[in-house]
Subunit: 206 residues, 2 copies
DNA sequence: GGAGTGCGTTAACGCTCATTAACACGTCAG
DNA sequence: CTGACGTGTTAATGAGCGTTAACGCACTCC
């Protein structure tokens, strides 16, 4: 875990605020003046840091997908050697939940504004996402060997939907606290996978 | 079940195409000319049928929320009298899955473009959504009595996220067929609720 | 001390796009 | 026959917005 002590650079401030605004009102729904105002400069000043509005979105989405994937790879490598597959899956789930709870705006952007990207960027993001999914699918199939690959892939996407539902959970007041929420999400994800796996096993055995 | 044999009216064509386009590229991402072209008339001709672009979105969102809620109420009334709570929950899940599989574009719109509405419309949609959630929460708590209300509400939102993930499942080719997909989603939803409920019961007993 | 550079500013351009105006043409009641 | 009405059309309007131009002002480094 690398912790930073230095102040966030201007670029980072901009990206953070842009992410929040894009998530709240959509890419087309927020103007450059608004983004500028959110970091204390006005409108066209952003062009000293980014080539354009599109470039901000691109950097956000590529960054998200990349961090998700590298984090998952690291977790598989760390837990994969010694532990049983279920521990690896637990680690993946935990990582995704951390991300969903800590970076809600990015989660929202992730599956909402992908088509606004240039072809090359979109291809890159899609590729990163696909690798992330495949990594999960492998682990899930080790935990639930009976599950055929298409079903496993569907199950993974569905669990992502479950975990990514955090933006819809109450506006930070009604939640039972971060720890409890994470715990609940984790249990539900495991339960969902287990149900999918049991169905396949029942079918295979019966 | 009311089946219609008469041809769809122009208004309905427009709404259907608008829903598809809004879901694909976002409310701001699609122009009125495009919507018109999709039904064979061009641009401003839409204004003979709707007061404006906003009005189409409003009618779509209010319609979705309303149909979801009335459908759920009907299911609770039908299955609620005689059967055990679990059967009611099964019926709710089934209804939501039907909706998610049959009206994918609407599902996408439902939680993506709500803030584009006039205040009054948004309030109405939110109220309908809230009632729908509360109805689920009640049933879930009957099936899993140990589950505290906040946790049950979070669980319901999360299962919605799971069920609404259908737009992300393969582009209609890689899916194992509608029946199998519905079955898988149903099992996973039940599994997720069960896991949430077991956690609470374990806590209460232990 | 002056050229270069980083980071802002405000004003202007140009394009997209929702909406409105003005007009056209069927159908159908009286 | 004829007006009203429903349903289109194309042209014009006007606002919003991303982007670029032109300029200002610290700093820093020879």
């Amino acid at each position: 875990m690398v912790t930073r002590t230095d102040a966030p650079t201007r670029r980072e401030q901009i990206l953070k605020e842009a992410a929040r605004l894009f998530a709240e009102r959509g890419f087309h729904g927020v103007g450059v003046d608004e983004i500028g105002a959110a970091v204390g400069i006005s409108g066209p000043g952003l062009y000293r840091h980014f080539a354009g509005k599109d470039a901000m979105l691109a950097e956000l989405l590529v960054g998200i997908s990349g961090r998700l994937l590298t984090g998952a790879k690291r977790r598989v490598a760390e837990a994969g050697g010694t532990a049983r597959p279920e521990a690896v899956l637990d680690s993946l789930i935990e990582g995704h939940i951390d991300f969903a709870l800590d970076d809600r705006p990015l989660i929202t952007l992730h599956d909402r504004e992908l088509d606004r990207l240039r072809d090359s960027d979109r291809k890159l993001v899609r590729q990163l996402q696909r690798q992330y999914v495949e990594l999960w699918v492998e682990v899930v199939r080790q935990v639930h060997p009976g599950l055929p690959e298409p079903a496993a892939r569907s199950a993974v996407h569905s669990v992502f939907g479950l975990l990514n539902s955090t933006p819809h959970l109450g506006r930070r007041g009604s939640l039972p606290g971060r720890g409890a929420t994470a715990e609940l999400l984790h249990r539900m994800a495991k339960g969902a996978f287990a149900a999918a796996g049991e169905a396949a096993e029942t079918l295979a055995v019966g």
